[in-house]
Symmetry: C2
Subunit: 353 residues, 2 copies
């Protein structure tokens, strides 16, 4: 059993505290309006859809489902992104037709920004001239969302933004066919850690049930996302198992991917996703740390299991994120960065226990 089994035993079957928004954000949440957002989108004829840099399953699922659902209502919808879409997602409707945005493309009068807490996350802050005179609509699920749209639908208790997209499309009366259901299911599944994370609610499962009834191809998600570990990812996994380290009596597990192994594998972002979880899933580990040596500095991914706030830990290095998942970038050589991060992580363990 883990190091903290005694504490865990004592908490067994106590009532789980319901996640609620901080007071300041609850006030802000009044700017979130499902009905107004859906009503406005129904009046559009042409939209451009964006999601965040290095898009994941929830960002791509949100974009593809929106494009397909809006098309069913006669709205011409194009998907853009500042990053290329990893090939693993090409099985989704419209994923392959996503356009790489460089700032010179002519956008539609209405811009939907999905799964982004702010414009910066989509790198749209770099192109103010592209947004001049446009109406921005945002659909998001991040705590700390900046309510940057003219119309905002932000529901931060949804584990996946695809839950919110499902509600918007339903409110609009859009057709949710098998392809759209598959895109939405992808977001639900990937952003919930395959329905494992604590923030999964009964409603998450109910939406999944409805999507399955609408014909969601869970087999395509399973085969393309979970059962298609690329050669690059496999090489990184091998490396990680051969080079994993522990600190603080096994409460910290860490691994540093140096520039050589990253260059050798030519890994895409989705090949690196999930590696840090291998470290976190080891018995007794509270903090998992993955370091990556890149041209622009050492990128760090932090995860915690039960009690350490890695958002605070990451903030020590100018980063941030969530309580159990955060990141930062350090402009130091790999060895120095590793030493600094480990020292800080050990301190957070001490402070919190």
């Amino acid at each position: 059993m883990s190091l903290c089994s005694t504490e865990r035993r004592s908490r067994r079957f106590c009532k789980k505290s319901k996640t609620t928004l901080p007071k300041a954000l609850r006030k802000k949440a009044m700017n979130s309006d499902l009905k107004a957002t859906a009503e406005f989108l129904k009046t559009c004829t042409r939209v451009s859809i964006f999601s965040h840099v290095n898009p994941d399953g929830d960002a791509i699922g949100s974009s593809c489902a929106l494009a397909k659902g809006l098309a069913s209502l006669g709205v011409k919808a194009d998907i853009y992104n500042v990053s290329p879409i990893p090939k693993a997602y090409y099985f989704l409707p419209k994923a392959k037709e996503t356009k790489l945005f460089s700032g010179t493309e002519e956008l539609a009068p209405v811009i939907i920004v999905a799964d982004c807490a702010n414009l910066k996350r989509a790198e749209l802050d770099k192109y103010p001239e592209s947004l001049a005179g446009k109406i921005v609509v945002e659909i998001d699920h991040h705590v700390g969302n900046e309510y940057f749209g003219k119309y905002n639908y932000v529901e931060s208790e949804s584990i996946a933004n695809c839950e919110n997209v499902y509600r918007i499309l339903s409110a609009m009366g859009a057709e949710i066919d098998a392809e759209t259901a598959t895109a939405l299911y992808l977001g639900l599944s990937t952003d919930s850690g395959s329905f494992r994370f604590d923030a999964v609610t009964a409603e998450t499962h109910r939406i999944a049930a409805e999507l399955l009834e609408k014909g969601a191809r869970t087999d395509l998600v399973r085969m393309n996302i979970y059962e298609s570990v690329s050669k690059a990812k496999l090489t990184l996994q091998k490396y990680l198992f051969a080079h994993l380290n522990f600190a603080c009596a096994g409460k910290i597990a860490w691994c540093a991917l140096n520039a050589d192994i990253l260059a050798e594998t030519q890994a895409e972002s989705n090949d690196i996703d999930g590696l840090v979880d291998i470290l976190k899933n080891i018995e007794g580990v509270e903090i998992a740390i993955l370091l990556r040596e890149r041209a622009d500095g050492v990128k760090i991914s932090f995860r915690s299991k039960e009690w350490v706030n890695v958002n605070e830990l990451a903030q020590n290095f100018g980063g941030g994120g969530h309580v159990r998942a955060a990141g930062a970038t350090i402009n130091e050589p790999l060895i120095k960065a590793t030493e600094a991060v480990l020292a800080c992580a050990e301190q957070s363990l001490g402070e919190k226990r």
Copy 2:
């Protein structure tokens, strides 16, 4: 993309064929009676609950949920098993109190056998004198179930037996409290590959939703099952990544765990569970094979991804199981067993494509 991406593309969004029982079994399924089973159990005062040898999450979840649910109706219920319960499951109600059955224990007048297609699976066939004069009740979800009880509730389209236990307890009017809901959720989650497998239905998700509403502690399942990789499992994972092999242009991935590494780790069955899936999840792999050198022969686990029937493959070695997951034991030295299995696996790839 995988070797079979062309074929996959062509099948995208075709209608999934609904899983139906073979005709012979559909007739047999008439022996399955939810209502009669529930009504009978309500009349009992004392029962002994069994599940299969080397019990997994669904077997243990079924047993614990039945024991707790029956207790809520005043039925004294003891859990027995011929194998010890892995410590990872001790967080479940009544799991720790499971009694190791050796054939000499005095059983209750009613024996419930959960998650077993036949008595042999629980090794109860070895102890006919223990069953003399007893009423056997079975609750199961395996295709090929032998309807061996006086009362049988067999629903083979349920991905987890815990779905069936949930229906039985609901039909009995038993209390499903947070602990019972947690045990049922464990079975749903583990037997469905964390809700990823094709046989997950909308109803699986709806039952999960109801269990969450009843207070199921998904965090305990996550922490104890998915995020508590033991030292033994970690060592085996390291070994597997360092010794994985491919055959047939990458369509077969295999690894042989020799007696030394198994002795070194002292791995329990739940430490070995899931290792074969690491092989299956590699892009392009159709057949995954894990071999284990044991005192009683070489134990083989087969998995397939899309088209090879590994049940037929395993039958060549006197084993069997399901279309996508099967096993066998070969009484040959490890190298000879490996050669034989690989030759046969290559042949099934050829035959099926």
